[in-house]
Symmetry: C2
Subunit: 204 residues, 2 copies
DNA sequence: AAGTGTGAAGCAGTTCACAGCA
DNA sequence: TGCTGTGAACTGCTTCACACTT
């Protein structure tokens, strides 16, 4: 594995390649060309090759890339080669949707705990995960989770994020439309459904 | 309003500025500087000014920008100055979450219809929207909707998208992890929760 | 004094063309 | 022949510095 300055845009495309590779593996495909892969992802073939070239030589000229080996390489680059644990806070409709989502395991991701403030929900199980009292958020420290999914109402988002940061959460997937204030070393990805839908009219 | 080549990155930041402006308006703020706005969005002040400069002169030197006027300008640029109608297909947990979401109206967006295949759900109301039979997707044509939110299981995503495109849908918010095949003039925004969570470990 | 608007410089990402390998 | 890997050219975004306005 080569060590060079990797463009941020390249990193953003890697998960897309990975998703396409999973699909190909499911269909029994063992070899893939950059052209084939590029069509699944919606970029050009040279972009695919350039992206991989930052990490080393992944393919064989005249043949292409081996699906399983390439999958492992990308997983390693993205640090998905070992299991990562996540907790979820806020089991409303959206939280329940994320808990019920079965697509995490191929990325080696597991949601190990869920939290909610509603006493009627505490103790219940959604997507195989038991719901705990959000007042016990400190207990996340013992679980060794590094990721958190925030699906609470916006007004309480910051209030649940602060204790999570204190107990060792390093990456946050934030579904609220509030900007979270976190230390520099914490990575936040924001998904704002309202904004995403609002972005469409410009392009149509 | 000036007509020039607008960088795509600038367009992507406009909804973020808009969201911050909504927040400021709620708090009764009437004037805002590029520095103030930049801090809410997480970019630099000069980036904010540069972005606006593509469209004309929005601010007053020494003072800043008027919140309400700037809001209207950005809404106009993003084509959010008139009401846009959306339909939603697939009322599972995720679909119900989107239907119950109250943040669309400030963007002039309205979800006017929802569709599902489950006969037990048809006729019920979620978030004030009645659920119809997905077999009647053709009826969307009469509703004058231009946007669609796809929250169905991945296997049937393409099957619901094809009729939607035929009846005049121009923009699609796709929550499935499948790449949709649509004509060139149709805009698709993909939100893949699994991939978004899987992108985090690299950065932490 | 405070804050905007913008030409120009600098930098990063994309695109190309082709050498090289199976 | 088919397809990869990559230096080089190109394109476009970001950053800067500062003139200008209130």
């Amino acid at each position: 594995m080569r060590y060079a300055r990797i463009p941020d845009q390249t990193i953003r495309r890697l998960p897309l390649y990975l998703r396409a590779l999973f699909l190909m593996a499911e269909q029994g495909q063992t070899e893939v060309s950059s052209k084939d892969l590029s069509e699944h992802v919606g970029v050009h073939a040279w972009q695919v090759r350039k992206d991989f070239s930052f990490f080393g030589e992944f393919g064989r000229p005249g043949v292409g890339y081996q699906v399983s080996w390439l999958t492992d390489q990308i997983k390693t680059i993205l640090r998905l080669d070992s299991e990562k644990k996540a907790v979820l806070v806020g089991v409303g409709n959206l939280g329940a949707a994320v808990l019920s989502f079965s697509g995490f395991n191929k990325y080696n991701l597991t949601i190990i705990a869920a939290f909610d403030a509603d006493v009627n929900k505490i103790g219940q199980t959604v997507g195989g995960v038991e719901i705990r009292d959000v007042a016990c958020l400190d207990s996340v420290g013992e679980l060794n989770a590094t990721l958190a999914v925030i699906t609470v109402p916006g007004q309480v988002a910051q209030a649940v994020v602060d204790p999570l940061v204190n107990v060792g959460i390093r990456g946050i997937l934030n579904f609220t439309s509030c900007r979270l204030i976190v230390p520099d070393q914490i990575r936040v990805t924001n998904i704002d459904i309202g904004m995403d839908l609002a972005s469409l009219p410009y392009y149509i």
